[in-house]
């Protein structure tokens, strides 16, 4: 569904990505790993259209993504989360979730100003939908809580819920379990599995926690200094000598896990 071909990105003198190519197939869970500065988040930011690549192509179901503006990417079914939380701190949990439903709102400015029935109904329906998801995850007590007051792991989960309300076909998760406790990580892994298996959502994720990645992903793409040095199933990656040398061999994974 997602195809990245010879993608390059240069920031001044720094070649952040150098002819990166990989694909994500429908209903896969793919992990994008690599040491700090390898260019993982840059790949996400290019898919989100925050940057203009210096070379290469990104296509989604055959459509050239580089033609889109960043706010149009979600309309195609690509939704992301952020490494350092993309939640809006001064909104309640419910309001944050309803931003995830943004593209389902169609009431004109005038209908909103005048409080016309269409605008009211839309607001009510979207609110009900967001509350349904909260109840589904037994978190309805948090609906009116301000986001900044919640524990980090909970915030991460809420950001993921918000992404789900945007009805993704492809979900991009940037370090979904960074800073979480072991129990929270296990719960998150289960949740991502269910999203993928029960709801048929394809997942591309960046994560430093090797156990998490190896235990969850169908396939892994390894970046180092902006290049793809390996891709394959977790077992293959664990035995790939170049990967071990570039990444695992430095003890990075044990230090960070």
């Amino acid at each position: 569904m997602l195809s990245i071909e010879n993608l390059s990105m240069r920031f001044g003198g720094l070649q952040a990505l150098d002819r990166v190519s990989f694909e994500v197939q429908e209903s896969e869970i793919v992990g994008l790993i690599g040491p700090n500065g390898a260019g993982k988040t840059t790949v996400f930011n290019l898919i989100s259209r925050f940057y203009e690549p210096t070379g290469g192509r990104i296509s989604f179901y055959g459509e050239n993504l580089l033609r889109l503006r960043s706010y149009q990417v979600v309309e195609r079914g690509i939704v992301r989360t952020f490494q350092l939380l993309g939640l809006f701190p001064y909104m309640t949990v419910l309001e944050n979730l309803m931003i995830g439903e943004h593209r389902d709102f169609g009431g004109s400015l005038l209908s909103v100003v005048l409080g016309l029935p269409r605008a009211r109904r839309e607001e009510r329906d979207r609110r009900a939908q967001a509350l349904w998801l909260l109840r589904f995850l037994k978190m309805e007590a948090l609906a009116d809580a301000f986001v900044f007051a919640l524990p980090y792991g909970t915030q991460k989960l809420i950001e993921l819920m918000r992404a789900l309300l945007a009805r993704p076909r492809l979900l991009l998760l940037d370090e979904p379990v960074a800073g979480m406790t072991a129990a929270e990580k296990a719960a998150m892994r289960e949740f991502i599995r269910r999203i993928n298996h029960d709801w048929g959502i394809t997942v591309l994720l960046v994560e430093h926690d090797m156990n998490f990645v190896m235990g969850l992903c169908d396939r892994i793409v390894v970046l180092n200094y902006g290049r793809v040095i390996a891709q394959g199933r977790p077992e293959e990656i664990q035995q790939n000598s170049e990967v071990i040398e570039a990444y695992l061999g430095e003890g990075v994974s044990s230090a960070r896990a």
């Binding site: 925050f50 149009q72 952020f82 993309g86 931003i99 009431g107 100003v113 409080g115 979207r126």
Partner: protein, 319 residues
């Protein structure tokens, strides 16, 4: 008590409020009403959408002159000229929206400052003084609906009350809608907002449209209350006054803007005795509020609310 009862109580209080007040105080209350609309207009733009403007007086002037001229020059009825003045002012808001697409907060503030100065300088130019009245300004007709002319302070007060309440309700509709949430999202985390499908161009345009509409209506209302309009009223001082109302009341809170506007409208009259010290006391009040109530008067109330359970019983959540 549920929210509806509180609202009904407040409206009832506002209806009986003028009885026993001097005509002049009633008049100042009406002026406060116009200022409320200007403050709410700026708060939606600045507090919600994060677009700083210190040129709002220009929209007041455009709204005031437009409503007056539509009546005197084109012979439109008040009930038509007045809202139309808001709509036309709203379109001039798009003039500021264009630099807002490119400029970040502080640079946009300078651009709006320039806009405010330009409009104030353009009005008294001789080319159109036959219509705009130059520095002297023009007389503004009294509001009239059918054959009923709103002439006394009391009649104007009730007209103002209705206008302000209706527009506050409409502003509240915007603030509590997906559009209001999109404003806040773009203000706090533009990248995350865009990644969820919020088009920054569209919502900045909405913010300027809504803000200029409210401010235009505020200007028209003030012009009809005063009965006269001249360019001298719309200097940088006026823009900063509106700015101060928003900051004082609490940025990003509509009830705060109402309080801030009423307070700053009456403050000069309370301080009248201390003529020479007026500017000093005015400045000191602002500094004190910013130091001790960083989230404005309304934010201060909210904090009290969360600190004292008794208040939470009296005003249940969401009220």
């Amino acid at each position: 008590m549920p929210r509806q009862i509180w609202l009904a109580l407040i409206v009832l209080t506002l209806i009986v409020l003028p009885f026993g007040l001097k005509g002049y105080t009633i008049y100042i209350l009406s002026i406060a009403g116009a200022n409320i609309l200007a403050a709410v207009g700026l708060n939606l733009l600045m507090g919600y959408a994060g677009q700083v403007s210190i040129g709002q007086a220009a929209f007041l002037a455009i709204g005031g002159y437009t409503s007056a001229l539509l009546m005197t020059e084109l012979g439109l009825a008040f009930w038509l000229a007045f809202p139309l003045a808001g709509v036309l002012t709203s379109l001039t808001g798009l003039i500021l929206f264009i630099p807002a697409l490119r400029l970040s907060a502080i640079y946009l503030a300078i651009a709006t400052l320039g806009f405010g100065a330009a409009v104030q300088q353009l009005i008294p130019l001789p080319y159109w003084s036959a219509i705009l009245g130059g520095h002297q300004g023009i007389k503004v007709p009294r509001p009239q609906i059918g054959s009923f002319v709103f002439d006394t302070d009391l009649e104007l007060y009730y007209l103002t009350l209705v206008i302000v309440l209706v527009l506050l309700a409409l502003s509240w509709n915007v603030a509590r809608s997906y559009i209001g949430r999109a404003f806040i999202a773009l203000r706090d985390k533009p990248a995350a907002a865009e990644a969820l499908g919020i088009n920054p161009t569209r919502y900045k345009a909405y913010a300027f449209l809504v803000s200029a509409f409210l401010t235009g209506i505020a200007g028209a209302l003030q012009a009809h209350l005063v009965g006269h309009i001249s360019p001298g009223e719309f200097g940088l001082g006026k823009s900063i006054e509106i700015f101060a109302m928003v900051i004082l009341g609490g940025i990003g809170s509509l009830p705060g803007s109402v309080l801030g506007a009423v307070f700053l409208t009456f403050l000069p009259h309370w301080l009248e005795q201390a003529k020479l010290l007026y500017t000093f006391l005015y400045g000191a009040a602002l500094v004190l509020v910013i130091i001790f109530m960083p989230y404005g008067v309304w934010g201060f109330f909210l904090r009290l609310y969360y600190r004292f359970p008794a208040m939470q019983k009296l005003f249940p959540k969401g009220a």
